[in-house]
């Protein structure tokens, strides 16, 4: 039983990381109806830019490597790059494709994935890099002594970061002027336009916010597994999360991430040995697929009504 809880908690905490990536998808999908396949590439780009600035800034400005100033300066610069990337995407890719079928936009973001990956590696190189956030990846002693369950401090920190991020995003959406405009756009593009909400302006902001979420996700993932090309695959894991939670729901992304994270770890441990292991690679997709057949709109998604 103790082992079960350990696996479950480990799964839930890694699910938090999936949720973080899925969150970026949901934000963009809600506001512009674009399924942004490039979110994973954006996570990679963000993490690589952050690490890259951390490496080059001390040399440029004569600062102490690893100091807090370098950290925050790199963070701000990486965030700025993400916002610029988002705005450019909106301007160059999405604006000419307005009113095209969803599937065209989806394919365009697949193209964008390759483009962003190429640019990121072209600028910063393809080496695997470590990312140090100053939190050690060791179990919490207090909990280990009491119940014998190993829970990493780092995972807990990641969960807390995700929690803060989601709460602040929810507050931002709920109580600010821009947040209200965002919700209006998400509800109905035309109605939002007719009451004077600048659509393209809003899309720019959404892509900027998605870039911010990508940066946070990239930093946490990067600190965990190193900043490397494999980060882009997290985006693929975020897809079943979205299906489970529903494309349009922020809480759905969180709950879906937790379910996927926990179930894939449990399946790997309990079902895996029966069939030769390594089922983590496809189990989330199969789970999502089975779920689709029962409830196509996801746990929290809006029921889709076809009007002929």
């Amino acid at each position: 039983m103790q082992f079960f809880f350990e696996v479950l908690i480990g799964g839930l905490l890694s699910g938090v990381l999936y949720s973080l990536v899925a969150l970026g998808f949901v934000l963009i999908y809600k506001a512009s109806g674009v399924f942004n396949f490039a979110q994973g590439a954006m996570v990679f780009f963000a993490a690589l830019t952050f690490v890259g600035f951390q490496e080059v800034l001390p040399g440029w400005l004569g600062l102490e490597p690893g100091s807090a100033v370098v950290f925050w300066l790199a963070f701000v610069l990486a965030l700025a790059s993400m916002v610029v990337l988002g705005l450019l995407t909106e301007r160059v890719v999405l604006r000419p494709l307005v009113n095209q079928p969803h599937i065209t936009l989806f394919m365009a973001t697949i193209g964008l994935t390759f483009l962003v990956e190429g640019i990121a590696q072209g600028i910063w190189g393809a080496n695997v890099r470590g990312l140090d956030l100053g939190i050690v990846d060791e179990p919490i002693e207090w909990l280990m002594d009491r119940s014998g369950i190993l829970v990493s401090k780092f995972d807990l920190f990641a969960a807390a970061a995700a929690g803060v991020l989601v709460t602040s995003l929810a507050l931002f959406f709920q109580y600010t002027r821009i947040g209200r405009a965002l919700r209006a756009v998400a509800d109905d593009h035309q109605a939002a336009l007719s009451i004077g909400i600048p659509l393209q302006h809003i899309w720019g902001i959404v892509w900027g916010v998605a870039g911010f979420v990508a940066l946070v996700a990239g930093m946490i993932w990067g600190a965990r597994n190193g900043v490397q090309f494999a980060l882009t695959f997290t985006a693929l894991k975020a897809l079943p999360v979205l299906i489970l939670g529903g494309f349009t729901s922020v809480p759905g992304a969180i709950v879906g991430g937790l379910i996927i994270g926990a179930s894939e770890k449990l399946a790997e441990v309990y079902i895996g040995p029966m069939v030769g292991g390594g089922i983590e690679s496809w189990f989330p997709y199969m789970l999502a697929l089975a779920f689709l057949l029962v409830r196509p709109e996801g746990l929290f998604g809006e029921r889709h009504i076809d009007r002929v």
Binding site: M107, I110, F114, L115, V116, G122, G125, G276
Partner: protein, 355 residues
């Protein structure tokens, strides 16, 4: 001046329904086939045949498969490489387990195995569409590769699932040189491409297009979407499966499941986007484009910039160029190279007059 149908009168229904209604196109088809079937194998070097022409043909076939599913039936798939893997491993196992099974029969059986798996993973398409379906096909992609790696039976207990294709023998003739393999690939691809070209203008092909354009309306006029979609999955996977078997037998010789990864699926998707969604001709153009572009970049970039940029730069540049081209084509010419070809033909019909 030369390309004009003036004076060509159709006097029977069969003449009216030909695949190539214009005489010049009919001759052109045979001329192109003769050039690629006779002249090219005689003149081209072994490198050109092995590294460029054979893969272009094989990927064209896979692209036709994906085009049937995505371009004609409107169901986006990100799992075409997995269906290729089923075809390759299927053909290998049929030849391994059944003594004296002719190569072409094994090829078809491999394709049929892929078709069966395709129908299985196409079942969700009855309930879901768009990118939901894309995720469902991703499940196929990961699951099939995992099965082929994890169960050694499929690769005859080889380590990590690597298979070495048996010799290709048809009626006692050994196809072992690049020329022979090229001609064999060309024959299979040409026959299947012609079949596909024909298929998409039959009632089946039209029902696919009706489902693609609007499934509710298609149902109202009496098309069964379930049958149309599953048939599209079956035919598409058959084409991908045969392409995969050729990939193993005439191109690489030794394949592993990991070789049929998501990247390959994306490459095939790029072929149909750049070549032209919903066009058989476009599949060939797109495949040639995607195979030739990296080779061109590898040769041209060092010549211009020298070696100062390092080895990693070339692969990054390739990613950037691919990504950029996809976005460019989707925005500027959504119907791809095939549409440019068509515009060229329209212009040629009028040339040298402006109207």
């Amino acid at each position: 001046m030369l390309y004009r149908e003036a004076g060509q009168f159709k006097t029977s229904y069969s003449a009216d329904q030909q695949i190539f209604p214009i005489l010049q196109d009919r001759y052109g088809y045979w001329v192109i086939l003769a050039i690629f079937g006779v002249l090219v194998p005689m003149l081209a070097s072994a490198y050109w045949l092995k590294a460029i022409l054979i893969p272009v043909l094989i990927f064209s076939l896979a692209a036709i498969g994906l085009n049937i599913l995505t371009g004609y039936a409107g169901q986006l798939s990100l799992g075409s490489a997995a269906f290729m893997a089923v075809g390759a491993f299927g053909a290998y196992n049929f030849r391994l387990r059944i003594d004296g099974l002719p190569f072409l029969v094994a090829l078809i059986l491999g394709g049929l195995a892929a078709a069966a798996v395709g129908v299985l993973f196409g079942l969700p398409s009855l309930r879901i569409k768009g990118f939901y379906l894309a995720v469902a096909t991703l499940a196929a992609q990961f699951f099939i590769v995992w099965v082929l790696v994890k169960f050694p039976w499929f690769s005859n207990n080889a380590s990590s699932g690597v298979i070495t294709a048996q010799d290709v023998v048809i009626l006692g003739y050994h196809f072992d040189g690049p020329q022979a393999k090229y001609v064999l690939t060309l024959a299979v691809v040409a026959a299947l491409a012609l079949a596909a070209k024909n298929l998409v203008r039959t009632a089946t092909g039209r029902s696919w297009m009706a489902v693609r354009d609007m499934d509710v309306a298609a149902e109202v006029i009496g098309i069964r979407p379930m049958r149309a979609k599953l048939l599209a999955f079956a035919v598409s996977s058959f084409y991908c499966g045969v392409a995969g078997a050729l990939y193993a037998y005439t191109y690489l010789g030794t394949v592993e499941p990991e070789g049929f990864n998501l990247d390959l699926s994306f490459r095939i998707l790029f072929m149909i986007i750049i070549g032209g969604v919903g066009s058989i001709m476009g599949s060939f153009l797109g495949s040639a484009f995607i195979v030739l572009l990296p080779i061109l970049l590898d040769n041209v970039v060092p010549a211009i910039f020298g070696n100062a940029l390092g080895a990693g730069f070339a692969s990054n540049l390739q990613l950037i160029v691919f990504g950029g081209l996809i976005i460019f084509f989707l925005i500027v010419e959504p119907h791809g190279l095939a549409r440019l070809w068509q515009i060229g033909k329209e212009k040629l019909r009028l040339w040298p007059f402006p109207h």
